[in-house]
């Protein structure tokens, strides 16, 4: 009897390891040994012919054999299952180099993206975003900015006129005067005014008859030229990165005193390239104009220059976007070629 059990165990081991190459065959092996008519089951059925002393002994051996075979089958099942999964996965392999499927993804215009960044920076500093009409009066566009008729500085901007006194605004500065007029009692102002402006410039790689400007104005007690410097330095670092450096050159605008042209260290060469095409080797890029508000500009719009002072600045968004994105032709912004727009 013991012999027989051992031989069944041997046969079962053999069958599990060699005969069963898939789950179906393995099930056949299970039936052969453990099924209702299986070899081990048959053996148990013959137990009642054994003596009472032998019965527990043989019973124990049979149970051991059953346990071994069950365990063998369980292990084999796991092995075959994982093999079958591996085989299945292998047949399901695809060409992962085929291009992915895209949806049409719309983009904001690069000038909007740039303007949004500018707005964000100034909103963080607690500025309001103001706007005003694009078709302006001569008064707001020029006179309220200390630019009377026949002022030679008017030559700096050739404007589109509708009548002698109405024009397409040549700068966003008129929003300054309009905003100041809305305030009373020397109330503080921190504002920017982004918007379209118009000048009679021929359309070429760096000029456009319509372009985008952002004007800034801060008025309060004790505002200094140093505050202007600090504010613009913060802005330029936010816009062009911590390494950006700033340089102010004395200049002239009728609405500010002192006035400055503001340069930022070249975004391409960092100010070190002698052959740099972007800054032409100078290391600096002219980026905005600024200054302390002229007292006449304050008083014309209802502020008392003996009580408050302020600073103002203006910048061209196209220029900043060109530098930021490496665009070498301004016309790309107004061409609206989707191959260009899709890149942003």
């Amino acid at each position: 009897m013991e012999e027989k059990i051992l031989s069944i165990r041997r046969a079962a081991r053999e069958a599990v390891s060699s005969d069963a190459t898939n789950l179906k065959e393995l099930d056949a092996v299970r039936v052969r040994f453990l099924g209702k008519k299986g070899e081990l089951t048959q053996l148990l059925r013959g137990m009642n012919q054994l003596s009472a002393e032998e019965r527990p002994k043989v019973g124990k051996l049979v149970n051991e054999a059953r346990a071994e075979i069950e365990s063998l089958i369980a292990d084999k099942t796991a092995e075959l299952k994982s093999k079958e999964l591996a085989d299945k996965l292998a047949t399901e392999s695809i060409d992962i180099t085929l291009p992915g499927r895209h949806a049409h993804a719309g983009r904001l215009h690069p000038l909007t993206l740039t303007l949004n960044r500018v707005k964000e920076i100034f909103l963080q500093m607690g500025y309001t975003v103001e706007d005003g009409p694009e078709v302006e009066t001569d008064y707001y566009n020029f006179e309220a900015l200390n630019l009377p008729k026949d002022h030679p500085a008017r030559d700096m901007q050739d404007s589109f006129y509708i009548t002698d006194d109405i024009l397409l605004r040549s700068q966003t500065s008129p929003v300054q005067a309009r905003t100041m007029e809305r305030h009373k009692n020397n109330e503080p102002i921190r504002m920017i005014a982004p918007g379209r402006v118009y000048r009679r410039d021929d359309y070429d790689a760096s000029h456009s008859p319509m372009f985008t400007q952002v004007e800034g104005l801060v008025i309060d007690k004790g505002i200094t030229f140093g505050d202007l410097k600090g504010t613009l330095e913060y802005f330029l670092k936010q816009m062009f990165g911590e390494k950006a450096r700033m340089r102010l050159r004395p200049s002239f605008f009728p609405f500010t005193e002192p006035s400055a042209e503001v340069d930022v260290s070249c975004v391409m060469c960092g100010g070190h390239g002698t052959d740099c095409k972007v800054c032409r080797g100078s290391g600096w890029l002219e980026i905005l104009g600024a200054g302390s508000v002229h007292p006449d500009v304050l008083s014309m719009s209802g502020y008392d220059p003996s009580v408050v002072s302020g600073f103002a600045f203006g910048m061209g968004i196209e220029r900043i976007a060109m530098l930021k994105y490496g665009v070498d032709d301004l016309r790309l912004f107004y061409d609206n070629d989707v191959r260009f727009l899709n890149q942003f």
């Binding site: 085929l98 291009p99 895209h102 949806a103 049409h104 993804a105 719309g106 983009r107 904001l108 707005k119 100034f122 909103l123 963080q124 607690g126 500025y127 975003v129 103001e130 706007d131 009409p133 694009e134 078709v135 302006e136 009066t137 026949d150 002022h151 700096m156 589109f160 006129y161 509708i162 009548t163 109405i166 397409l168 503080p188 921190r190 504002m191 008859p209 319509m210 004790g222 200094t224 030229f225 140093g226 505050d227 600090g230 504010t231 340089r247 050159r249 004395p250 002239f252 005193e257 002192p258 006035s259 302390s292 002229h294 007292p295 002072s309 912004f333 107004y334 609206n336 070629d337 989707v338």
Partner: protein, 807 residues
């Protein structure tokens, strides 16, 4: 304004390079745009002596030169020039030279003979000389050998080209610039002593009368008389100065007036005394229609009001802009009246713009000339001409000076200037800085000072101007950067700005690109867009001085810009185009324009091309009306615009059968549809384009400002499909309305999932299939309840829509 370094060096010691000087001047507010070096490209050109000359073995016109260039060893150079001889000293371009003519010199062989450079001709060095002999430029025999050729050729000068700001009129003169050069170099400058020997004893006042009839336009008119004038060329040094200043040499008299203008900043004019009728000159306003015969020999008609200088008979020239023809200096001139006057800047500016003539002289007057320079200028001119032996000087100056200007005097405190700048300069430092602009400073009390501003600095009138002087001379870069403090402001955008931002974000998420187009338009656009002839849209604001014929108007609709952009993309083979723009349009209140037009913010856009991007696995289905409708519906959903009606729409630029409007009551929220074939043809759009147009303010009015999300249902819902056979013309939307209306309290939405006509459907009929959803919020709905509602819906559509239930 431009001036050579050499001219400046006549009066001040400059020991820094022209580039360094340019940089420093720029940083004090006297911007130098360009440094033009006469020796550009000559850095590897040296002087060399031809020690030995032998014929080229393989050429009958080339010569082999052994050159001494001061290097010890002789340099072999092959030349083809016929004019060289042994012992001559010539300019030699060494290997590596990059000559101004564009030639680059490299080591090479000429017909087998090694040549280590090139002997240069005047042309190759861009020398401005008349060539006596063809060939190599021969230097004098005493020229040192092996030194840079530029110095020997007189080319070691540089010209500073300024781009001066409108306020710094004083810097349009050598004397004015000297002060700035002195500030940036710390060196003193010496002005020439100006003295005149009045060697014609007659009295100028007896010879010429100077009158001013328009003191508002001419505040001073001074004149000097010169006799026995001998016209001829001016000396070389003066010609060089003028060339450096960009002024052509004419003759000694004209050159001197120009020289003095650049030196002192006072424009001058010279008249032929004998041609002045009545020997009187009067500054007066021109009479409208008056003839002016100007020195360019053209007859101009005065508009009236221009300042002219007239003799006893007629106007002899436009003051400060252009002289008269008859009184011009000619070869026959022997007696000269020199004019140095002060004219009103605005008047000169208007006149020079009107006649389209901008001269060195008018440019200076426009910016403002120092009223106190006329006498000095006349003396300087007389002195220079006398030194040349070109004239005698009549005794006395006729000086008509009706408008005197008191010197500008400003009281200031150091504290006020420090407060404006954010600096903390001690009084002594600040006074030291301000003294550099000239003018006396005195203490008024223990805090207040007074400065008498020098009269050439007409731009300094108030304390704030002084603060700029302090800042620029102290150095902008030395002022500490700070951030404003004190009262703060709540930073925000306007609601309209926020709303447009929302539109932009939603539409880009829906796959549209934002475009930006010009606000200009053209009258033909309205025809192309099929705008009715009586439409207000044709009433566009005209620009008085448009850039060109293409853009004479300001737009009244965004659609033209959108369609032009689509067309441009199509022409570049960009087939999938989805664009939108939110921007203002302009409508006049009345024409002709007397008031600012009304600006209205509009939204417009277009889609065309594939529904999905081109791909290896997707069918290339093209977008249609319903893609655009989906975009519009989604936009409204995201803007929280609810409960609008959907109606068939009418729009001049859209297909009459494929246009829809969304409305609130009678108010149109948005119109969209397929582009009208006529419009598509006019814009040369060969593929179907679907467009939309809306008014942003109207959208904003109906967009809910708040948004609350709905809770998810806790109980299961029941769906029922409803397949109907309806007349082909029945609008699905009408059927849907009936379903919604009869849905009952547990109705939770209906969705059309199939539309079919054709096989198995009777002619004139179509099948519509809906999924209807029922949902109770507080319990699980029973089938019986759903069935009851469903049956009610079926009965209603059968009755109201002539529909049959399909089985």
């Amino acid at each position: 304004m431009q001036v050579s370094i050499k001219w400046l060096k006549d009066y001040i010691d400059i020991d820094i390079s022209a580039e360094e000087l340019a940089e420093r001047l720029t940083m004090v507010g006297v911007p130098v745009e360009n440094v033009i070096r006469a020796d550009a490209g000559l850095d590897k050109v040296v002087t060399g002596r031809i020690e030995k000359l032998t014929p080229h073995p393989d050429s009958d016109h080339m010569l082999v030169c052994q050159m001494n260039v001061g290097a010890g060893e002789l340099l072999q150079i092959v030349t083809g020039a016929p004019n060289v001889k042994e012992g001559q000293i010539v300019p030699v371009a060494l290997v590596g030279a990059n000559l101004p003519c564009g030639k680059k010199i490299s080591k090479g062989k000429l017909r087998g003979v090694v040549s280590n450079g090139m002997l240069c001709s005047a042309d190759e060095l861009n020398l401005d000389v008349e060539e006596v002999e063809r060939g190599i430029y021969i230097l004098p025999d005493d020229t040192p050998i092996g030194v840079p050729a530029a110095g020997e050729l007189g080319l070691d000068d540089a010209v500073l080209e300024f781009e001066l700001t409108a306020n710094r009129a004083d810097c349009f003169s050598v004397f004015g610039l000297l002060n700035e050069v002195s500030i940036v170099t710390g060196k003193p400058f010496n002005l020439p002593a100006i003295t005149v020997d009045e060697d014609d004893a007659r009295d100028a006042a007896d010879m010429i009368k100077i009158g001013i009839d328009a003191p508002d336009l001419c505040s001073r008119f001074s004149a000097r008389m010169l006799t026995e004038v001998k016209l001829g060329p001016s000396p070389a040094w003066m010609q060089q100065c003028l060339t450096g200043a960009g002024i052509r040499s004419i003759n000694n008299v004209v050159d001197v007036t120009n020289f003095v203008m650049v030196e002192l900043g006072q424009p001058m004019h010279a008249y032929d005394y004998d041609q002045i009728v009545g020997h009187s000159l009067t500054a007066r306003k021109a009479i409208a229609g008056e003839q002016l015969h100007t020195l360019d020999d053209s007859n101009r008609l005065a508009k009236g009001g221009e300042l002219v200088i007239a003799d006893g008979e007629k106007a002899a020239g436009l003051a400060g802009v252009m002289g008269g023809f008859e009184t011009e200096i000619t070869d026959k001139t022997t007696t000269v009246v020199l004019e140095a006057a002060n004219f009103n800047p605005a008047s000169i500016r208007r006149t020079s713009r009107a006649v389209g003539l901008h001269s060195e002289s008018s440019g200076r007057f426009e910016r403002g000339v120092d009223i106190n320079k006329t006498i000095l200028a006349l003396d300087r001119a007389a002195q220079l001409l006398q030194q040349m032996g070109a004239c005698k000087v009549v005794r006395g100056i006729v000086d008509n000076h009706p408008v005197k200007k008191a010197p500008t005097s400003i009281d200031f405190t150091v504290e006020a200037i420090n407060n404006r700048l954010g600096t903390n300069l001690p009084a002594a430092d600040m006074i030291g800085i301000l003294k550099k602009i000239g003018g006396a400073i005195t203490a008024v009390d223990d805090k207040t000072y007074n400065i008498k501003v020098p009269s050439e600095r007409g731009d300094i009138t108030i304390v704030e101007d002084l603060s700029e002087e302090v800042a620029r001379i102290y150095g902008y870069d030395r002022i500490e950067s700070t951030l404003p403090f004190g009262r703060t402001v709540q930073g925000h955008q306007t609601p309209a700005q926020d709303f447009v931002d929302r539109i932009r974000y939603v539409l880009t998420r829906l796959g549209l690109n934002e475009e930006l187009s010009f606000a200009f338009t053209n009258p033909t656009t309205f025809d192309k867009l099929n705008v009715p002839s009586d439409s207000d849209l044709r009433q566009a604001v005209p620009i008085k001085n448009p850039l060109n014929d293409e853009y004479p108007l300001i737009r009244t609709t965004l659609l033209s810009g959108v369609l032009e952009n689509v067309a441009r993309n199509f022409s570049r083979k960009n087939e999938d185009v989805r664009l939108f723009e939110a921007a203002p349009v302009f409508r006049p209140k009345a024409l002709p324009i007397v008031e600012q037009p009304i600006e209205t913010l509009k939204l417009a856009g277009a889609i065309s091309g594939r529904r999905e991007p081109k791909s290896w696995s997707q069918a290339a289905a093209e977008v249609d009306f319903y893609d655009l409708k989906g975009i519009v519906e989604e936009l409204f959903e995201r803007l929280s615009i609810k409960k609008y009606s959907v109606e068939r729409g009418e729009h001049f630029a859209m297909h009459p059968g494929k246009t829809a409007v969304f409305k609130k009551g009678k108010e149109v929220l948005i119109t969209f549809g397929e582009l009208h074939p006529k419009v598509a043809e006019a814009f040369e759009l060969t593929k179907k384009v679907f467009v939309f147009e809306a008014d942003v303010e109207t959208l904003m009015k109906y967009a809910s400002k708040s948004f609350r999300c709905e809770a998810l249902p806790k109980y299961p819902s029941i769906t029922r499909d409803l397949a109907l056979l309806v007349d082909y013309d029945t609008a699905a939307g009408d059927v849907e309305k009936v379903i919604v209306k009869n849905g009952g309290k547990n109705f939770d939405g209906v969705m059309l999932f199939d539309v079919y006509a054709g096989k198995n459907i009777a002619d004139g009929k179509k099948s519509l299939a809906f999924t209807i959803k029922f949902q109770a919020i507080d319990r699980t709905l029973t089938d019986a309840e759903a069935d009851e509602a469903f049956d009610r819906i079926v009965a209603a559509v059968e009755k109201d829509c002539n529909a049959q239930l399909r089985s």
